[in-house]
């Protein structure tokens, strides 16, 4: 290897993988820290539990990565998960729909919701922050109104055991998440659609000049988070055997934190699925470890707040360095 190619290789590692390598090292440090200071952290049971919560977050974090890359955001995912789960249960319990039919309707609902957010953004020029903030309030409020704040239970053992349980030692939801990861990873690297997300985030005007349908790309990204929120809603119901208006409280925070910790820039254009996957595990591990330390769950939120802040500090400094001159407007 010549001097120059070595230099080039080094540089490429620096720019594209440094964040992921850094995160992996941080992950190992956190793992060692919790393992050495608590008794029950380093057990198979606990790892399964960490994986399970990372998986629910991950299923929404992958599409969220595309949303952030296109310079949009979806903060409605928590209430969206709760409402989707409720809708699923209501269809079964109150209207006697089958499980499959209900699931199809809920997934359709998620798709339409994302389409609505996307159209509001691209045709009515409403920032996604505003639309999803409105939905954040409306979906949670309506869920509470419909149920009067009480959970609605369902009892179907097969459904609970399969989707809420384990397969081959891993939670079913983890297998689903890994499948989704592969699809999203592949899409981001090897499809025209995936490239278009990066192009739209990198320079929307250029993308439009070239003939990329920028509106369609953004709508597609936004359908992703709503659709997967609907899927996670159903999976949550399988786990807890009920629909509950208070489900997934604060989940939008975990999802966005995981994506940002994973190296995706809130300003768009930069981000990888591998980073997001690591980010999900990182956030889940910290939440779990703090509980093992006996720290109050409310303080847990404080710690997560600090983590996301620090992640953005590190993240934007990376962006500045690789970006000859800081973030650009367009």
């Amino acid at each position: 290897m010549t001097e120059q190619t070595l230099e080039k290789t080094k540089k490429r590692i620096k720019i594209s993988n440094l964040h992921e390598i850094g995160l992996l090292i941080a992950l190992i440090i956190v793992l060692l820290l919790f393992s050495l200071t608590t008794e029950n952290f380093f057990t198979q049971r606990n790892f399964t539990s960490i994986l399970r919560s990372a998986s629910y977050v991950g299923l929404i974090a992958f599409p969220m990565t595309f949303v952030l890359i296109t310079r949009e955001i979806d903060i409605s995912v928590g209430p969206s998960v709760a409402w989707s789960g409720l809708l699923f249960v209501i269809l079964i319990k109150w209207y006697d729909f089958g499980y499959l039919t209900s699931a199809v309707i809920v997934i359709l609902w998620g798709t339409l919701l994302g389409y609505f957010i996307g159209v509001a953004r691209t045709k009515l020029f409403i920032p996604t922050f505003i639309t999803t903030l409105a939905l954040w309030s409306a979906l949670r409020g309506y869920s509470l109104f419909v149920t009067e704040g009480r959970p609605i239970a369902i009892s179907n053992k097969e459904f609970r055991y399969f989707f809420g349980g384990d397969i081959l030692g891993l939670p079913t939801v983890t297998w689903i998440m890994l499948g989704a990861f592969l699809i999203f990873w592949f899409a981001s690297k090897y499809t025209v659609t995936g490239t278009n997300f990066y192009a739209v985030g990198g320079n929307p005007k250029a993308a439009r000049n070239i003939g990329i349908n920028v509106d369609r790309v953004k709508i597609l990204a936004l359908i992703g988070t709503s659709l997967f929120s609907a899927i996670v809603g159903i999976l949550f119901v399988a786990r807890v055997s009920s629909g509950n208006a208070n489900l997934a409280d604060g989940m939008e925070f975990d999802v966005i934190a995981a994506v940002v910790v994973g190296g995706t820039a809130l300003a768009g254009a930069v981000g990888t699925m591998t980073g997001t996957l690591l980010g999900c595990v990182f956030i889940a591990m910290i939440s779990n470890g703090l509980i093992h330390w006996g720290i109050d769950p409310d303080l847990n939120r404080v710690v997560k707040g600090i983590i996301i802040f620090l992640a953005v500090v590190i993240n934007s400094n990376f962006t500045f360095k690789s970006n000859s001159g800081g973030p650009k407007e367009d």
């Binding site: 499809t191 025209v192 490239t195 990066y198 192009a199 320079n203 000049n209 254009a269």
Partner: protein, 248 residues
């Protein structure tokens, strides 16, 4: 007129409400020719380019590509006819590598069953071949555009414009934002396109650019044809006079 005519605009006018941006402007371009278009701000240069590229529809007059009358509804139409525009702001995505930018929106793909997948290998190979053909030097086709200098970015924008066998390339102030030492490289690139048989229209304020690369220069003044000459029959002072609306 010559047999090599690739593009012609005949008495093109463009009105925006009561404002006349262009009035009965004629323009012609031969194969492998570099035409310089000069004029003061507001003389109608950019409007004329936008009409040629299909971004604006002319209010009056007609366009001919290869002597055939055409009607353009969008930049896509002119692209299909072999005309590409290099925008002043370059319109590149800084977060993407050079190759991705060149093939953005026109990526080489491989069909696997019903699915179309990106062909990274082919894209890289095509990028390297194309950059070599234009004698553009970059460290690697995988470099991100935001890591490049202004001149290299301009080169990438030109490479993108010519990656699909463009016959005509329009360039709006290709050297305006560049460091002095990079201007020469971009001008070399334009001469290279000429050698490859591409016709180029260059809008520029810089007499150095015009007198280095152009075969012919035409001046617009207040939206009309003002003067035109083969480069060898004119001088810098004369062209500067045209820009200011002075003719001997």
């Amino acid at each position: 007129m010559s047999d090599n005519l690739v593009l012609e605009a005949k008495s093109v006018s463009k009105f925006f409400g009561t404002i006349t941006a262009l009035q009965n402007v004629d323009l012609h371009l031969n194969k492998g020719e570099v035409l310089g278009v000069v004029g003061d701000n507001g003389a109608g240069k950019s409007t004329l380019m936008k009409v040629l590229s299909g971004l604006y529809k002319p209010s009056e007059g007609s366009l001919f590509f290869d002597k055939e009358k055409v009607s353009l509804n969008s930049p896509r139409d002119s692209q299909n006819l072999g005309l590409e525009m290099v925008y002043q702001d370059l319109a590149l995505a800084g977060n993407l590598p050079i190759g991705d930018n060149i093939f953005l929106g026109r990526e080489p793909t491989r069909k696997v069953g019903p699915f179309n997948f990106l062909d990274h290998k082919k894209r890289k190979q095509l990028t390297e071949e194309h950059l070599a053909k234009l004698k553009i030097n970059v460290k690697s086709a995988d470099q991100k555009v935001e890591e490049l200098s202004g001149g290299q970015r301009q080169a990438v924008a030109i490479a993108r414009a010519t990656a699909f066998n463009a016959k005509i390339v329009l360039m709006d102030e290709p050297t305006a934002a560049l460091a002095v030492k990079e201007v020469g490289k971009v001008l070399d690139l334009i001469l290279n396109l000429k050698k490859l048989g591409v016709s180029v229209i260059v809008i520029s304020h810089r007499m150095d650019d015009i007198f280095t690369v152009c075969d012919r220069v035409m001046a617009l003044f207040q939206g009309t044809n003002f003067a035109e000459s083969e480069l060898k029959n004119t001088s810098r002072d004369e062209v500067i006079g045209w820009i200011m609306g002075k003719k001997d």
